[in-house]
Symmetry: C2
Subunit: 256 residues, 2 copies
Amino acid sequence: MSATVKPRYQQLKDMIIERISSGELRPADRVPSENELVELMKVSRMTANRALRELTDEGYVTRMAGRGTYVSDFRAKSHLLEVHNIADEITRRGHQHSCKVLRQSRQRSRGKIAGALHVEQGVDLFHLLLVHYENGMPIQVEDRHVVADFAPDCLSQDFRTITPSAYLTKISPLQEAEQVVRAVQPNAAVRRRLRMADDEPSLVVIRRTWSHGRPVTFARLHHPGNRYELTGHYSPPGTPKSATGNVVELEIYDHE
Amino acid sequence: MSATVKPRYQQLKDMIIERISSGELRPADRVPSENELVELMKVSRMTANRALRELTDEGYVTRMAGRGTYVSDFRAKSHLLEVHNIADEITRRGHQHSCKVLRQSRQRSRGKIAGALHVEQGVDLFHLLLVHYENGMPIQVEDRHVVADFAPDCLSQDFRTITPSAYLTKISPLQEAEQVVRAVQPNAAVRRRLRMADDEPSLVVIRRTWSHGRPVTFARLHHPGNRYELTGHYSPPGTPKSATGNVVELEIYDHE
DNA sequence: ATTGCCAAGTTGTATATACAAGCTCGACCA
DNA sequence: TGGTCGAGCTTGTATATACAACTTGGCAAT
């Protein structure tokens, strides 16, 4: 680790973050204006502007033209959880990912599925039912519907070599998504496919993905509760990546 | 909605995003350099620089000094899930939040808890055990440990009026967090506190929060699986907020 | 043939300057 | 008294310029 000097705008950001973090600047307090920073810190206004603008993007401060810059109210901040693509997640663990295709068929949309995908009853959909394995152990049942005209060659894909998620993002990458995570008692079919114990709950991720302003796919991802968990690490944007070290085993249970 | 012209740097961003989204620019393709954008789009280099820099922050492109700018590989992108503070979440639904404090005591750290908080055995901790209610129905059991010297006045707080999360972020807001989400069979105590059905699974969020480079609190949040879910909406930063409309009810189950 | 080095192109940062637009407050006027 | 307008602050954007650091490729010297 060399002691290279940080850029000036980053020093400004660090200084302001430190003043917030230490409690010297509290939520709704006024942050020095760009011109004040110019004098205080001997920088140009564009440099001060960049620092304050990035702090705005990162949620630390709020700016109003004509008023000034004020410390944000953090209590509203959400914690973020990353939900990875299952195949990437497995290979990143150094394990082997494999996949069995149970169904890959064309369907007419109906009922709730049609509603979720914002299409009329009877519109062509593709239905995919896959089981993903990690070193041979089933880890996810993927039950997915895809709007047919978004991915016309869906039936000719070999989803053992490319996951539906990767295939769909290849077609049109920049997407919005809604997600729901639930703990449920799975039905018998899912329980059997995932080789789950009798009373084992399932962690379910439901995801609807949008592209070019319309829903294009709707997936229900079942995981065995005893062998799967969602993990996330949240640090404010702009923070050095390795600040907190590795993920640590976090045990759930003590007796109350 | 007035038809005010977008700023020039935003037009640049939109243009590049559109070229990526349409498939004209694919992952690993080269994006026009700043100087090329200066000529093509008749802007100054600083404006082109801002556009490309923000696209970098938003994950669309990757830049390398001396090499150029290249379209990112989206397959690696994670979906994000927001995990809200329980009290905010309830009040945002227009419901009434209340809270019962079951335990608020000083403890010596030991075992796994000490390890998770990176402190020696025997260091002072506070132990909090709360139940959060939404319109009178229990919705979360919060089992939390706090490093004592981070929050010395923890025992004198009234956590019926301020949640531990809000209290702790008030002390020192800018924090990193690790989170794990699991589906588990809760023990009898949790099941009783949350008035859960016999075979109902529990959605558990385990969160360790850091401040000034060290862990300061460690919380296990149990929720009843039949009455609680995590929801999230992900759109790339910089996208207009209301692009996809409201959250829609997403049903879990069809028969296979 | 290999090595070394330099030129050209790229991103990254920093400054000085300029103008537009929004907000506040006080001076001024009717 | 009440209202209006403008001075002076703020942020937001845009440009021109400069230099540093990095990468690549080709050329020259060894």
